[in-house]
Symmetry: C2
Subunit: 276 residues, 2 copies
């Protein structure tokens, strides 16, 4: 094998690690791939980490112990995260987005791959220490963000569905009351999607009273799954008391006024509180 230069090793290493956030690669893996000593790989990792930090592209973490190695962590930088959410609030404040009934059109934001990747990085960062085994969402609009959160945390994503489909086998179904419309709905999850005793991170696009999230919490209880955390893209300021506690949001919707055509949406305290 031709000798691989440091610049080449670092380029390939950063690509391989960042393609699989949170997955631990052993030093041996890179040592064999590049035909280089482990001490050399160690130095490469230090340089790669420094360059990622310098250009605010995330970080590498060395994990010690038997299952040790190195992994890539997508680390949103506070000022960049705040700017990203600020800009999103600005776009969402466009009066053209106001729909009948005081709703806000945000489907484009919620399904653009680059934007949901950024949202996913921030949400995943907040829950990085909660050790979820999977991310769970409710169809449909929250799926892209939930998938990106799952990608950052290196866990599967699971979707609870409002209708039961034959192609998913036996399911567990619960009824819940939607917080906003006070309607009774049901949601289902295939039995084989989840293992008892696991930990779930609940991610959704929007929360008003929190009825749907409350439903997911109840559904998780049916599976004997612990809720590791809860996050949404947007929550409403009103009502102040939600049906679930401690749900982290990126943005807070303070009001949509159909008459004056004003939208008031702001970064949440979680975003504002990110350490500089």
């Amino acid at each position: 094998m031709q000798k691989i230069k440091r610049s080449e090793r670092i380029g390939a290493m950063i690509k391989i690690l960042s393609d699989m956030p949170n997955r631990i690669y052993t030093l041996n893996h890179f040592s064999e791939l590049f035909g280089a000593a482990k001490s050399t790989i160690s130095e490469d990792i230090d340089i790669a980490h420094a360059v990622l930090e310098e250009f605010r592209l995330g970080s590498l973490e060395t994990v010690t112990g038997a299952a040790g190695g190195v992994r890539y962590l997508p680390t949103p930088y506070p000022e960049a995260a705040r700017r990203f959410v600020d800009e999103m609030c600005l776009r969402l404040s466009d009066p053209e987005r106001i729909l009948a009934g005081g709703y806000l059109y945000m489907l484009d934001e919620l399904s653009h791959p680059v934007k949901v990747a950024r949202m996913g990085e921030i949400l995943a960062h907040w829950f990085r220490d909660t050790r979820p085994d999977f991310v769970v969402t409710v169809e449909t609009k929250g799926i892209p963000v939930a998938l990106m959160v799952a990608r950052c945390l290196n866990v599967p994503m699971i979707t609870a569905r409002r209708d039961v489909r034959i192609s998913e086998g036996s399911v567990v179904t619960i009824n819940y009351v939607t917080g906003s419309a006070h309607k009774i709905q049901s949601m289902s999850l295939p039995k084989r999607a989840v293992v008892e005793g696991q930990r779930a991170l609940i991610i959704d696009d929007f929360m008003k009273r929190g009825g749907t999230l409350r439903g997911v919490v109840d559904l998780m209880r049916e599976f004997s799954v612990t809720v590791a955390g809860m996050g949404v893209v947007m929550t409403t300021a009103e009502p102040d008391r939600k049906l679930v506690d401690n749900c982290h949001a990126l943005m807070v919707l303070h009001g949509v006024d159909e008459t004056s055509r004003k939208v008031d949406v702001r970064p949440s305290r979680y975003v504002r509180g990110m350490e500089a």
Copy 2:
């Protein structure tokens, strides 16, 4: 600014480019970011391209002209793509996946971030020259794959929905006949999600007769949108004649036998035919 070494430039450059597949960055961008001459950046790009190719991690393409620069293309390598699809076929052939009615449980494959990213890379690669303006899918199971295809092609993803939600504004709705169950269903797309004259790449998880895909084609016609291509994760071998033509699949389901508990699923001719 401290001088940035080649290894550092290449590491950062690969990360920045591969975070946004198919997005063109000017040489000036990197020249300013790194405080290096454009000729130096040009050399960096050549090295970065070579290392990505050597380790089968994709490729960089230099785009000339006024809007010129460099972009990252996620290029699935034929043998790696074939191995990936082979392994997926093997996992899906597990008799434990057989559901009542001859259905196959594949939800875990369709919502695992790493797996759908790989599927998305292959599907996007097949349609890289079709210049779609967006990727469209039908809720629910195809969303993760469609999002990853959209990510590779640097375009938005749009989801047609089976129920009409008030929070999406005015929608266009069509009725279609599902190919397998011969039921009449409807699907809707928000009016503001699409602009007349655009090009759509249709991506879905599963095709039997192609009734749903036919519905999406009709829906696109309502929007005066051209269909740039069609791809699914899995198609059935029977019926041989589908309601749509030229749909590219990753896998072909030749049969699910509930009695003998045998699943016959194979890589498609599109996968087998990928050039070595």
